[in-house]
Symmetry: C2
């Protein structure tokens, strides 16, 4: 039986995973909830017997996982990336629980892939990696011991997506969201433009780009808007 659309459009991205058992646990957690698209960014372990044992009947998810050399590569084609992390008040991202995020993740996944990103067991996600993601996902947890195992975190998010799918009618989004690489392109272009026009001092960048990222994140850039912004930036640079 095919898995219910749009779960198949939801990508799980693991960054620098170090324990083979966790790879297996993630594959199993995904398959039991109907997810299948796994991307491994620079994994620090191999898919060994422990990974296969923990995957149990989900070895196919492990075997079809794509190995990526960067987070950008893993997010290519996605229209929204949500980073699973503990609460970070220092970041400009919108911050949701899996329950709050699931309806919009599913709604967007009707039109294009979306991603949920999980950091390494030891180091979590770097600020640079978090900045590539538009949302943060916080799993509610015990403040005294909030250390979810990687497989458990994927299980909770995948469960929430499947449960929400069972609950919610999913109206098609009215707009065409821009893919990750288009949004990143706009932000690179913006930063370059700001430098060229002398608004951004590379020696003292301060919080300018994070704040602008947040602006674009809230705006949920649409495909048609990409060309508009690129045109604006090009026009701005023309006078430097």
């Amino acid at each position: 039986m095919n898995q219910p659309f749009p779960l198949t459009q939801i990508r799980v991205v693991l960054i620098e995973t170090s324990h083979p058992g966790n790879l297996g646990a993630v594959a199993r957690a995904m398959k039991v909830m109907g997810l299948s698209d796994l991307r491994l960014v620079n994994p620090k372990c191999s898919m060994d017997d422990e990974a296969r044992a923990r995957a149990s009947g989900a070895v196919d998810v492990l075997e079809t996982a794509q190995i990526c050399h960067s987070l950008d590569e893993a997010l290519a084609g996605t229209v929204l990336a949500a980073a699973c992390t503990s609460r970070r008040r220092d970041l400009p991202h919108p911050d949701y629980t899996p329950r709050q995020a699931a309806p919009e993740l599913l709604r967007l996944a009707l039109t294009a892939p979306v991603a949920v990103v999980f950091g390494s067991e030891t180091y979590g996600l770097s600020n640079e990696q978090l900045m590539k993601c538009r949302w943060l996902l916080n799993i509610p947890a015990n403040p005294d011991y909030a250390s979810l195992n990687l497989g458990a975190a994927v299980q909770v998010v995948a469960y929430e997506l499947r449960s929400t799918l069972a609950d919610e009618p999913l109206p098609l989004p009215e707009f065409q969201p821009a893919p990750h690489e288009a949004v990143e392109g706009v932000l690179v272009d913006l930063e370059q433009t700001l430098k060229q026009i002398g608004f951004l001092d590379p020696a003292h960048p301060k919080r300018l780009m994070p704040r602008l990222r947040r602006f674009f994140a809230k705006a949920a850039l649409e495909k048609e808007e990409v060309a508009i912004w690129r045109g604006i930036f090009a026009a701005a640079r023309k006078h430097c």
Copy 2:
């Protein structure tokens, strides 16, 4: 920091667990969500290094787990037991998803312990064990591969309880639910009475007692009603 009440009143009962790693994963899954009361019915493995490694910072939950010799012992004092299992249309139990069940489990746990029961990795729960539980919990899953790992199943249920607690105002129940052993006592008394009065043929019991169990389950027996029923049964037997 103390964990939020009533999560501390929610008991996780594992029956005949065979893999130490699963014991550890369950302890961790519980603690990250603020649960702490673990009961192990006839465990088939020891709490070895693998159990401790998988428990990570939740070794305290493992170490304070109570070993029980029967499910009745593990359920003593609880006012509701919910069995986590795949959908079973052959059973007379009310059947809920964790999301449907969580508000009532939390509401009851304001007054007395409640239990969520998980079967062994290989054999699940027997009909006899299921009959000791008033509800079934079905975790929504991929119909082609619904095999949640034991730790993952506990993680999902514990997450649902914590998330619901964050969402829901919890009005106190208006009644005093009867503890497990009182309900079981009433049912034993009922069965004995039915035999004595010749309504239940021990040679051909058919589905009579399961149906009566369901009746009592739906009714959510209250403390004050126990004495009433016991009185009724005693009175009925007096004339045999």
